[in-house]
């Protein structure tokens, strides 16, 4: 040990944030080496919620793995399903009816709004403000009611099937979704007035938790985290999947690189998602919601493919290898939260505990998505 390191060693102490700590939203443990209130080193310790999803994908048939997808990133569960069915459809060469693709986009975007709303609430709780959470949950509840009416569940959705979706949407859903778009738009100024313009909130976010674009690229960060650092990377635009290429939407990008930029990206994304939902509802074609002749025991031909979707937290990718049998030979899941968390160790060095926890909150981590 060098003398410098020794000097640090004597002055510092280890602070365990987690596995049970109010700021970590789950069983994430961060081993902080602290010098007073300054962070010398932060080592995320993950795996408390590891359930071997990848291995499970290999020892059961493709269809039987579907319910697992809703249990990784459970806050935005539809995206996991979308990524998985997308990969398997590509492997098996299935063509999805257009109506089903539109329904996927509508439900996914609603799920994105719900996820971002939950993040806004949880982030404010991290910063010590409890009230916005309840307002976010109020709006989120409307979305969950809508999605429940077509998927049958409220959190761990298992709605998408290989070749389509399992239930068609009815008129009630379409009317409800239109109403929600209108009501959510009318609520946005309220969030702006009470959260975005709140002086303490701004002081706690502006200039705090700087993540440079280079760091973000280095660690493979995606989603609102990299878009808050000025990189316009969005899978929906870069590699359009489903029917996103037929819809008109912007990718919000902010160049401040701080917590506020990530907050603004997510708030703008809610607005953009509302636009997408509105357009998709207008363009929703008639027709079947399942492809014809999808075999019950799906045996995709030999080969491998990668399919990624823009989840609420970034790029969720599935790489599936098929050896021609009923089970995948290998299933690799790329979770956005894992990459986003890996930024934390380097970027939190030298920060104050308070600010580091704001940074941690702004990454929007869902721990089961990291642990898988």
């Amino acid at each position: 040990m060098s003398s410098d390191a020794q000097a640090i060693h004597h002055e510092s102490f280890v602070l365990n944030v987690g596995p049970q700590h109010p700021a970590t939203h789950g069983v994430l443990r961060i081993k902080l080496t602290m010098d007073g209130e300054y962070i010398v080193d932060a080592e995320p310790v993950i795996g408390y919620g590891h359930r071997m999803h990848e291995k499970m994908g290999e020892n059961r048939s493709y269809a039987k793995f579907l319910p697992n997808t809703g249990r990784m990133d459970y806050v935005a569960a539809l995206f996991n399903g979308h990524g998985y069915v997308g990969a398997v459809e590509r492997l098996a060469g299935l063509v999805v009816p257009e109506r089903a693709e539109y329904i996927r986009v509508i439900t996914c975007e609603l799920n994105r709004i719900a996820s971002h709303l939950l993040w806004v609430g949880a982030f404010l709780v991290d910063l010590g403000g409890f009230t916005p959470l309840l307002y976010c949950f109020d709006d989120r509840e409307h979305i969950l009611d809508l999605i429940e009416s077509v998927t049958g569940s409220r959190l761990t959705f298992c709605y998408f099937r290989f070749g389509g979706v399992c239930n068609d949407v009815d008129d009630n859903f379409i009317v409800g979704a239109r109403d929600f778009v209108a009501s959510m738009r009318s609520r946005m100024p309220m969030y702006d007035a009470f959260v975005s313009k709140n002086i303490i909130f701004r002081k706690r976010c502006e200039g705090i938790g700087i993540l440079s674009a280079d760091d973000c690229r280095k660690y493979g960060a995606t989603g609102p985290v990299i878009r808050g650092s000025g990189v316009a990377y969005d899978v929906r635009k870069m590699e359009p999947y489903s029917v996103y290429s037929q819809l008109d939407f912007n990718v919000p990008v902010y160049t401040e690189c701080d917590c506020m930029a990530r907050y603004r990206v997510r708030i703008d994304e809610i607005v953009e998602s509302l636009r997408i939902v509105e357009q998709a509802l207008g363009k929703l074609p008639a027709g079947p919601v399942m492809a014809d002749k999808v075999p019950r025991a799906l045996k995709p031909p030999k080969g491998d493919c990668y399919f990624n979707v823009e989840s609420a937290r970034g790029s969720f990718g599935v790489r599936a290898f098929s050896d021609g049998s009923e089970n995948a030979y290998r299933l690799k899941l790329r979770s956005p939260c894992f990459s986003n968390l890996s930024l934390f160790q380097e970027c939190s060095r030298g920060m104050l505990l308070t600010d580091a926890l704001a940074l941690l909150g702004s990454l929007d981590l869902v721990i089961p998505d990291i642990d898988r």
């Binding site: 109010p22 009230t131 909130f201 308070t354 600010d355």
Partner: protein, 332 residues
């Protein structure tokens, strides 16, 4: 023993019981107020199950806290750890001794009442620090270190403001200070712009310091839930934990009482009619509602943000206020 002495003793005993009762009642029902008010702000209904409209909820909370085990973690400094909750609750109750609730209702009216309140107020935060250090928990220790800095930073502007007020009222006696504000709200110290045009600013500074001194959000560094788990209270359980909260609420009551006396005319009516205890209580509880309102509207400040606010804004403003008062007194 003369009859006068007996009467005096009975009077003191009655006041002692009365004050403890008042403190306990307020501590219990301010928690309910806090929960109800938070629920109104948050589209919820708050406690509704225990008693009509949840009115017996504080009783249920008290029974629950008392029935919980008092845990003693292995490494704690036992005497200090156990003394902490007791010592933290006594000073704010003692502060009530010198508060004049109405023309006649005051336990002990003595000339240095104002000074005594600040002396006991300082003990309260000091005990919080000791409790944090005695807990032998890293989160508690960090919180304890924060308390010291926070206490120093906010005691200064608070005292400077009170000093400028004492300069314009020429008295440390709370009763005298209220008496000077008789007759209509334009006589209140808050609007006594003749002696000090910055009086409303002084009130604002006092209010901010009150939040910080009683460790209320947005300045709740002592607890700082999402950072320090529960700050200095982390290792406390059962009624030990409960006593800290009683102390917090009694501190708020004392702070609001003092604000009412110093700035809002005490028991005097805003329109010069029917002065009495009810006006004092109305003003005091209105301030308590404000304190709760602030808590549920704002996120927590950063610790350095808290210190910056005090050293860079509040202290210079308070000193300017003091200087201005001195100049005005000299001139007029």
């Amino acid at each position: 023993m003369t009859e006068g002495m007996v009467m005096n003793l009975v009077r003191l005993l009655l006041y002692l019981v009365g004050m403890i009762g008042f403190a306990a009642f307020n501590a219990a029902y301010l928690t309910l107020l806090e929960r109800k008010q938070a629920s109104w702000m948050q589209l919820r209904r708050g406690p509704t199950e225990v008693g009509p409209w949840g009115l017996l909820q504080p009783v249920a909370d008290g029974v629950k806290l008392m029935s919980k085990q008092l845990l003693l973690p292995r490494d704690v400094d036992v005497p200090l750890f156990l003394l902490g909750p007791i010592m933290v609750v006594v000073p704010p109750i003692l502060c009530l001794v010198t508060i004049p609730f109405s023309e006649t209702l005051v336990a002990r009216n003595f000339n240095l009442g104002l000074l005594m309140i600040f002396a006991f107020g300082a003990i309260s935060t000091f005990v919080l620090m000791l409790a944090g250090l005695a807990s032998a928990n890293k989160f508690s220790s960090i919180a304890a270190a924060r308390i010291v800095a926070q206490n120093i930073a906010y005691e200064i502007p608070l005292l400077v403001i009170v000093l400028s007020l004492v300069m314009s009222t020429h008295s440390f006696n709370l009763h005298t200070i209220v008496d000077q504000q008789a007759g209509g709200f334009w006589h209140w110290n808050l609007l006594r712009l003749g002696t000090n045009p910055l009086m409303p600013v002084a009130f604002l500074i006092y209010f901010i310091c009150l939040l910080a001194e009683s460790n209320r959000a947005p300045f709740d560094m002592v607890e700082a839930e999402s950072e320090l788990v529960a700050g200095v209270f982390t290792e406390y359980s059962g009624m030990g934990f409960g006593l800290f909260f009683i102390a917090e609420y009694v501190n708020i009551v004392v702070g609001c009482c003092l604000a009412t006396i110093l700035f809002l005319g005490g028991w005097h009516c805003p329109f010069g009619l029917l002065p009495g205890l009810h006006w004092f209580l109305i003003k005091m509880y209105a301030l308590c509602v404000m304190v709760v309102w602030v808590r549920w509207s704002f996120p927590r400040t950063q610790f350095y943000g808290l210190l910056n606010l005090s050293w860079k804004i509040l202290i210079p403003l308070a000193l300017a206020n003091l200087l201005l008062t001195a100049v005005m007194l000299k001139l007029f």
